[in-house]
Symmetry: C2
Subunit: 198 residues, 2 copies
């Protein structure tokens, strides 16, 4: 692992420890002050640089994310890797005609949502990198696997800003033989609501 990697990961980890808030009950992690509501654009670019470095030379031709919090890291990584970025939409907007569909359980909204992607933008010719802000239970990743199976697109890898290491998403992806990389991994939320990182 290069020094550059260590620097980016350290910057993100320190921010999570200083500015993140957590609730042991429910395993809630709040990073909305810098990552997924209000966003530090410089930090986001540093994370994108890291994704671009990790996933280069793997024949990826497209970056896929899911609205809304994945879009910022995805568009910046797409810019650096010179790749198109497509975001999976929630619900079925009437501007999307022929689409692949799946469903995702939203932790932050306590409900299931239909997700879709235009069939023209996910095809059997695509070798994709999926990027998102959080890997938790793997529900969003599961919907991407489902969409890619329908379209014939191949998932080369997945990248996450933060993994909830205590949730089941990592095991879910390993069970599906999907290589993934998380820039920071929260291993535990203590009873005093403090955060422990890997």
């Amino acid at each position: 692992m290069s020094n550059q990697t260590n620097t980016v990961m350290e910057e993100l980890k320190q921010r999570i420890l200083k500015k993140g808030r957590a609730k042991a009950e429910g395993g809630v992690v709040l990073v909305g002050s810098f990552l997924n509501h209000q966003m530090d654009a410089q930090l986001m670019m540093h994370c994108a640089e890291e994704f671009a470095r990790i996933f280069k030379d793997q024949g990826i031709n497209k970056i896929v994310t899911i609205e809304a919090s994945g879009i910022a890291p995805a568009i910046m990584t797409g810019y650096l890797m010179n790749l198109p970025v497509v975001f999976v939409k929630k619900k079925q907007p009437k501007t999307v005609e022929e689409s692949w569909k799946s469903w995702v359980w939203s932790f932050t909204r306590d409900g299931e949502t239909t997700v879709c992607i235009d069939r023209n933008f996910l095809t059997e010719n695509d070798r994709i990198l999926f990027l998102d802000d959080f890997l938790a239970d793997g529900h969003a990743s599961g919907s991407i696997i489902h969409l890619c199976r329908q379209s014939g697109a191949q998932i080369v890898g997945m990248g996450f800003l933060v993994e909830k290491g205590f949730a089941g998403g990592g095991q879910f992806l390993r069970d599906h033989n999907i290589p993934y990389y998380a820039l920071a991994t929260i291993t535990r939320i203590n009873e005093d609501n403090s955060i422990e990182l890997a």
Copy 2:
């Protein structure tokens, strides 16, 4: 207007003419192949460079957008202007506690949605630039005006990738004395569904 401006605007306009699709009935403009579903990250950065140039030196301290299609141009402009970017969320996620709320009519979903922003991220100390992909009827802009009124934040300006010049949003913003800039303006969709640009 500089040559640089003309180049960016010309790039976006040519893309709209070549890759955009429109339906005269309902005034629908589809730019999902490069702008708001699948996104050309290089084009998006060029648009962000243009926003950064237009809105520099105006004392802006924060960029505000609304999920989902506004996030890509906003995060890139935030990066270039070295400003935080906050996106207004649709519905009320349980991760957002104390929020300012408004409502927006979604053209692409044929329904009204609650939108909200954490009170910590929009305050009377903020001088904001609102960025979005489309200015159409001005419904999203209206919700931003409403959120800013509640919080005391000042709207310095608004920027849009594309304006539907035949819709009411431009007049709405002029009526509210809000300076705005659109990188491309669609003046008319002809009966044969061809697009005319300003």
